[in-house]
Subunit: 286 residues, 2 copies
Amino acid sequence: MPKKVTIGLIQMSCDAPPKKNLAKALKKVEVCAKAGAQIICLPELFLSHYFCQGPKEEKWFDLAETIPGPTTEAFSELAKKYKAVILVSLFEKTKNKKYFNSIAVIGTDGQILDTYHKMHIPSLPPGLYSEDYYFSKGEEGFKAIKTPYATIAPLICYDQWFPEGARIAAAQGAEILFYPTAIGWPQIDRKWKNQAEYEAWQITQRNHGIDNNVFVAAVNRIGLEGELKFWGTSFVSDPYGRVTAKASSNKEENIIVSIDLDLIKEMREEWPFLEERRIKSENCQR
Amino acid sequence: MPKKVTIGLIQMSCDAPPKKNLAKALKKVEVCAKAGAQIICLPELFLSHYFCQGPKEEKWFDLAETIPGPTTEAFSELAKKYKAVILVSLFEKTKNKKYFNSIAVIGTDGQILDTYHKMHIPSLPPGLYSEDYYFSKGEEGFKAIKTPYATIAPLICYDQWFPEGARIAAAQGAEILFYPTAIGWPQIDRKWKNQAEYEAWQITQRNHGIDNNVFVAAVNRIGLEGELKFWGTSFVSDPYGRVTAKASSNKEENIIVSIDLDLIKEMREEWPFLEERRIKSENCQR
């Protein structure tokens, strides 16, 4: 019997007030679940504007909340109701008062299966992605999380440029890599760079799928906020890197797509990349 | 002053008799050097048909030779004459009677700068790439080799599916990754797989360039040999993964192209991926 799973990716614009974004996200999750989505993923930090651009301001720390907390509890109810797995990206404040860029993975009984703390925290070109001011770097590494539908790895935005995260998660058994994201074009003339970066973003994620024989789901926001016009173009790619679904660059869209996890096994019979790594060889440690 | 280097990639068909292939390769290297190529790369195992498909036969071990040896000596003369760096792919027999799929990197004084032994040795679908019968797996790891024109990393074919090789070589300072290759379409109906694999081959190599902010040069052979129709389509891509030169799938061609190594530095100012790896974190060892 083929091992199929239906995933739902929510591409949305994000407004300033968290309550408004939360209400919209809950509604969209419900739409996806009703349409049959079993694993549903929201974009990075969808509860607010992407506050990591522009001046570094202490006020944004007020957005942080605990996991579990009011937001995850709202999604837990939906997860339980629809027997769905939901990936919720959040600005997290832990009990020890550490701040992380996190994903709570909520299981089909509404419980938090695990929380991933973004490992790679960007402090990129002046003022566009100053995440280092707000978030500590994750300390728990990359995670493959078992769910009733598939073993999945939550990864976040900047992680997508680092093959290590994909590799380690796949070696742990991840079948689908989820990359909630907030990335876009700066509103300054950068000549060829805007297009080159946008294309590179697709290639790098598709390739993490190829090199690890797994599926990839990238979920970006849309809209113009401050200096950034977000790319949208959320997509799903298969283990061969083929894009099987892709959203527009400027519209809210739910991608609901069925994927066949058996393709992973089939590809690995011919191309068993994970098995054939030389990571124990001399000079192969970094 | 921009740091430019001209590279030459030789896409050729390979015949049965090594002497014929050697004569052709020497001529093509000379053509590239006269046209200004400073670093010249030949395809994988260009001295013969790709003997690793079909029945495993002891006779092919007769092709193996030492480094230095008659073949490298012939290229050393050209290297010296034209002040070129030449990457020569060979079936190598070492003094200790080990057999490797190797690249000799010949420097501008004709000396062997270093030899790379292919780390990932395929034993892929029945009879197509049975390299494990002929070659030991490399034991010296990945190498960044300084040359007068650029620091380069020789990698070979199947290595291209493993981000580890690219990563380690780039972390050691490699600015250009060279992938001499012998890969093609099997002459059986595999439905969508032939196209998917061909596209994946380009994506994975382009992406090693992106994730490490380096240039990539892929050099494949052409022609139909036994069950394999080789892809050709040798190419050069820049640190953003943009293909700046690409050969046809069915013609002998020399790609001679100037690349600007300063783009590496420029990209790293915005996207310093190597610096920001989390390889020392808990759970980030493999």
